[in-house]
Amino acid sequence: MGFEKFGRKSFTSATKIAKFVDFLNEGKIMGTLCKKCGARYFPPRADCANCFSSDMDWFEMPKKGKLETFTVAYYAPYGFEMDCPYGMGVVDYGNNLKLFARISKGLKLEELKNDMEVTVKPVRYEDGQIAFEITKE
């Protein structure tokens, strides 16, 4: 499976880290770790900008993080109107590791608080697309 399956609508088909989608199908959200210098990346990267190595390992993202910031879009760009309104946010795991994603429909705007504990899980759409989203548990 290629990267065109990632997200509500993908704009990228070929990437060296397309295996991310296979992991997502297995229920795992993975970043990459440089074997040479130990730099950790999320979103995952095929190449290390720190030491120029392309020898990377996969690592699983932490289970729990804190919601750093969030928004709820009541207006969508072309091609995403069917999902409106939808939330988006940034999760901070500490140690310079963060993640940007949509917020689960099950989490209402009124429930969202800065620094609340959240987790991130894969989500499948009816058309076969797969992504990850921020949820409470």
Partner: protein, 393 residues
């Protein structure tokens, strides 16, 4: 304080919805005004830099087409793009070309014709100015990204929706007196009343940002003509010097951004570089143009530029300090919010405003006290690129 490169001519088209002409004709309007302002002809221009955000253009590689229409061939021309900060980046390149001695006079022309596509299409295309591999697949757009900054900033610093509304009211105050602005209407608190069904500005685009917190799309063009010290002194009666020029870039992905409650890092870095080069402090700035693509962006800019301490940007709008009569007037031409934001033209238009202010030629918008130092803060994408330029007489 270096005085090596000067602005000798500025021009701007009317910013409008639905410009009735082509991009080359739009660019001509700003260029002609700037060339006449400088008192030169196209033969005097050694090179041109054409700036826009290519998402909106049907024309590929617009530099050649526009340079030809403006009479700027066979001189070198090139296309420069950093989304919303394209034309200040063009000025940065021009500065380098002149300072290096390669050219004496360079014209920087910014343009954008946004009205040929719908607002939803525009949001999708501008959203692709962000990370298309990891973020656009979620349905991101500019208002949602700035909303992420707004939410975190407001929660931490006690900035309110009313404060944001006051930024919009200020910009509308000056949009009314700027005949080149696209949004000429006044804005009142009633326009932001969520209980008023006719209050369009109160509608939420991406929480916490409302329609009224967002700038106006527009078609428009701008032109800045720059010259070496020798040429500027020979040609221009009122050269305005570039005293400091700073720039920075940032991670495209939100996952790699520092603390959202602190605003845009590019603006802090670019400002520090510009202040250091100019050898001045924020207190020396008498008039500023900041990139208020959203109301929150103006508040964050106050802090990045050192006009207010971290977290205290709200005080400037509450105390009306950034109105024309205040200690640090900001966006007294209506800003992006009311003057309009034709992406590639915006930076050049900001520079035009500052140059007119420093020359004392800003008309109804003129800041009192004969300002001698002005600043332009122009941001590309969601703080992806940042340019801060300091000008002086």
């Amino acid at each position: 304080m270096p005085k090596d490169v000067a602005v000798i001519g500025v021009g701007q088209s009317y910013f409008v919805r639905g410009y009735e002409g082509s991009i080359r004709e739009l660019a001509f309007e700003a260029y002609r005004e700037a060339a006449q302002d400088a008192g030169i002809t196209s033969k005097d221009v050694d090179a041109s830099i054409i700036c826009s955000a290519p998402e909106y253009d049907k024309q590929r590689s617009p530099a050649g087409v526009i340079a030809e229409y403006l009479g700027l061939i066979p001189q070198p021309t090139m296309y420069v793009e950093t989304v919303c900060s394209s034309s200040t980046t063009g000025v940065r390149i021009a500065y380098g070309l002149i300072k290096s001695g390669l050219h004496d006079i360079v014209a920087v022309i910014g343009f954008q014709k946004m009205s040929e596509i719908t607002s939803a299409e525009s949001q999708e295309r501008m959203g692709r100015g962000a990370d298309i591999q990891w973020e656009s697949p979620f349905g991101t757009m500019m208002p949602a990204y700035y909303a992420l900054y707004a939410q975190a900033y407001m929660a931490k610093n006690g900035l309110t929706l009313d404060d944001l509304m006051q930024v919009r009211i200020k910009s509308a105050t000056y949009g009314q007196i700027n005949e080149r602005a696209v949004y000429r209407r006044p804005v009142t608190p009633e326009d932001f009343d969520p209980n008023n069904p006719n209050a369009k500005l109160a509608q939420i685009v991406s929480w916490p940002l409302r329609v009224g917190d967002a700038c106006a799309n527009a078609d428009g063009s701008s032109c800045v003509i720059l010259a070496s010290a020798e040429k500027a002194k020979a040609i221009s009666k009122k050269p305005v010097w570039i005293l400091g020029i700073g720039a920075a870039s940032e991670s495209v992905n939100m996952a790699s951004r520092p603390d959202f409650s602190k605003g845009l890092r590019v603006a802090y870095i670019a400002a520090q570089k510009a202040y250091k080069m100019a050898g001045i402090t924020p207190k020396d700035v008498k008039v500023a143009e900041v990139h208020d693509c959203f109301t929150i962006a103006e508040i964050m800019a106050y802090e990045a530029l050192g006009f207010a301490p971290p977290g205290e940007g709200k005080q400037l709008i509450r105390e009306r300090a950034t109105y024309k009569e205040g200690p640090i007037p900001v966006n007294v031409d209506g800003g992006l919010l009311s003057k309009g934001h034709p992406i590639g033209a915006t930076g050049g238009s900001q520079i035009r405003t500052i140059v007119l202010q420093l020359r004392g030629e800003a008309g109804a918008m003129q800041v009192p006290g004969e300002p001698d130092i002005g600043l332009v803060h122009n941001i590309g994408g969601v703080g992806l690129y940042g340019n801060v330029i300091i000008f002086g007489r």
